[in-house]
């Protein structure tokens, strides 16, 4: 798992400062929730971690984000490798305009990942994960004789990991856009995991979902934090209480307070944090 450390980060869109002097260490192997009112810089902070902020015009950043000690804003930094390392889940799930199957293989294909073709590589990797009800050895044996055995198994594994497999196993080659929005978000999770990230950045991943789908995603996160650091932006306080191990509170582009969830909610230090938690500001 990579260690993410934000150091005195100021990020501007044109002349407007979206983040001001944020310094923060993100705990590894935990779910970190970034909370705060709308427009306070939550998403900007999240997207600056894998430089998705670059896609906006006139973005400039001061300070540094160190990932495993390397500054990602260094001109020599490899942005493509960075984005592969820090997977991203968007607010509204967008399937890519292709089949369910191709949505999963898109990432591994562009990175020409060995496990797309090598069953041994894939098997070793799969065994590091626990997927309930998935007999890895039997699946590997079955895949051995197939033409695209490794690729098919890779798709199955990630769909199982996102608990979508049982719902789509019979229509893998149909357009992903026909899935329900909750299924689309789980597909997005599987697609993100398929490039083998080391951390997951999620931007209000349940805000477009119905309560049942939202619950499924939350459960997924709880299971995934064994293998990944997860950073979730949310404006739902109750969600942060439910899932977060660590909480970061932003207000108007500034980092107000951060700490372990229990401590943060039980004994907020700053008056603005107290006002936000008690619902005086939202």
């Amino acid at each position: 798992m990579p260690h993410i450390s934000v150091q005195n980060l100021t990020l501007r869109y044109g002349a407007r400062e979206a983040l001001r002097h944020v310094t923060l260490d993100i705990p590894d192997g935990r779910i970190t929730a970034i909370i705060g009112p709308s427009g306070c810089g939550k998403t900007t902070l999240l997207k600056s971690l894998n430089r998705l902020t670059d896609l906006n015009e006139e973005v400039s950043a001061d300070g540094a984000v160190l990932i495993d000690g390397e500054n990602i804003f260094d001109p020599a930094a490899d942005v493509l490798a960075l984005r592969k390392k820090l997977g991203y889940l968007s607010q509204r799930p967008f399937p890519l305009p292709m089949s369910i199957y191709d949505n999963i293989t898109y990432g591994p294909r562009i990175h020409a990942m060995k496990r797309l073709t090598s069953l041994t590589r894939l098997g070793d990797f799969i065994k590091q994960h626990e997927v309930p009800g998935f007999d890895v050895d039997a699946a590997l044996r079955a895949a051995a004789g197939q033409k695209h055995g490794a690729r098919d198994l890779l798709v199955e594994f990630y769909l199982r990991l996102a608990s979508l497999w049982d719902e789509v196993r019979d229509r893998l080659h149909t357009p992903a856009s026909r899935l329900s929005i909750g299924q689309q978000q789980r597909l997005a999770l599987a697609r993100t995991l398929a490039v083998e990230p080391e951390a997951i950045l999620a931007d209000e991943p349940t805000s477009a979902l119905d309560p049942i789908s939202a619950k499924l995603i939350e459960t997924q996160f709880q299971a995934l934090k064994k293998n990944y650091s997860i950073i979730v932006v949310t404006h739902i306080l109750r969600q942060a209480r439910r899932i977060a191990d660590y909480v970061v509170f932003l207000y108007l582009g500034e980092l107000i307070e951060h700490g372990p969830a229990a401590e943060f909610f039980a004994d907020p230090k700053d008056p603005r944090t107290r006002a936000y938690i008690s619902g005086e500001i939202s």
């Binding site: 894998n50 998705l52 896609l55 015009e57 493509l80 490798a81 960075l82 984005r83 592969k84 997977g87 991203y88 968007s90 509204r92 967008f94 399937p95 890519l96 305009p97 292709m98 089949s99 898109y106 990432g107 562009i110 990175h111 357009p175 992903a176 856009s177 997005a188 697609r191 993100t192 490039v195």
Partner: protein
């Protein structure tokens, strides 16, 4: 209150009236052309080139013009498509600055509105400069000039409508701009690309002025790029100008053939468009 309801009724009435007017025009055009041309529309018209004395009412047909038109417009469509698609891709924000894109759009809009005789004149200059005489190649060059801005602008409009978040997904998986453009943008825009190509084809095949002195006219089917080529719009023009009623009738039959070709291409593009929109995200 009464007045506002009256306004509502009047405006609605105006809308229906203008819709009726458009339908009436379309029906009128088809009615006149079919009425005056259907009798002369024989297999001979379609499959034979003009015999001696054709323009005085003797036997033969306009196969030279049908084939010529298809060669000219088909060729120009291929040339335009090969140029328009890269230009439209290059106008995306990832590649072009906002001001550059705006300027290019303005230039394309001006070109779109340019009278086609100007393209003919310009194409003629290019031909002379290249040492060509009136030929299929010359016509293709002039027609491409006419069709390129239409195709580019229509495609660019479609590509610009693709949700940013969709591209963001591709980037977040570590894809490059080119990978994103080819795998995501092209797939999503494909139905619109087909429609844009069809729109330009329709404009091109019906245009007489741009090929008047660049493609020339001949009673034979062109055998090489350097032979002159006949075309349906000019066939209509030459035949309608004679005082002989039978030949005038053939002019309308030629127009009917032109109409049917445009209709067929339109239907084909609809079908293709539908086929390609299977995977697109709405």
């Amino acid at each position: 209150m009464q007045r506002r309801k009256l306004e509502e009724t009047v405006v609605k009435g105006l809308m229906i009236a203008s819709l009726g007017l458009i339908v009436l025009f379309l029906a009128g055009i088809i009615f006149v052309i079919v009425l005056r041309g259907a009798r002369a529309l024989t297999w001979q018209m379609i499959f034979q080139t003009p015999h001696g004395g054709y323009y005085l009412g003797q036997g033969g047909g306009v196969a030279n013009a049908i084939v010529g038109s298809l060669y000219l417009t088909g060729g120009a469509s291929v040339v335009s498509l090969l140029l328009a698609l890269p230009i439209a891709f290059a106008l995306q924000r990832e590649y072009a600055s906002r001001s550059f894109a705006r300027f290019t759009r303005l230039a394309l809009d001006v070109l779109w509105g340019m009278p086609s005789i100007v393209y003919g004149a310009f194409g003629f200059v290019i031909m002379v400069w290249l040492g060509l005489r009136a030929s299929l190649l010359g016509g293709i060059i002039a027609l491409s000039l006419l069709m390129l801005p239409i195709m580019t602008r229509a495609m660019e409009e479609i590509i610009d409508m693709i949700p940013r978040e969709l591209k963001e997904i591709s980037y977040s998986l570590g894809a490059t701009r080119l990978e994103t453009t080819l795998a995501v943008v092209l797939r999503q825009a494909l139905p619109g690309v087909v429609t844009a190509a069809m729109l330009a084809f329709g404009r091109g095949i019906g245009d007489a002025a741009s090929i008047l002195f660049t493609a020339g006219y001949t009673d034979y089917v062109p055998r090489s790029l350097f032979d002159p080529a006949a075309s349906l719009p000019l066939a209509v023009f030459f035949q309608i100008g004679t005082p002989i009623p039978e030949v005038q009738e053939r002019a309308y039959a030629s127009a009917l053939i032109l109409l049917l070709i445009v209709l067929a291409v339109n239907l084909l593009s609809r079908l293709l468009s539908l086929r390609f929109s299977r995977n697109t995200i709405r």
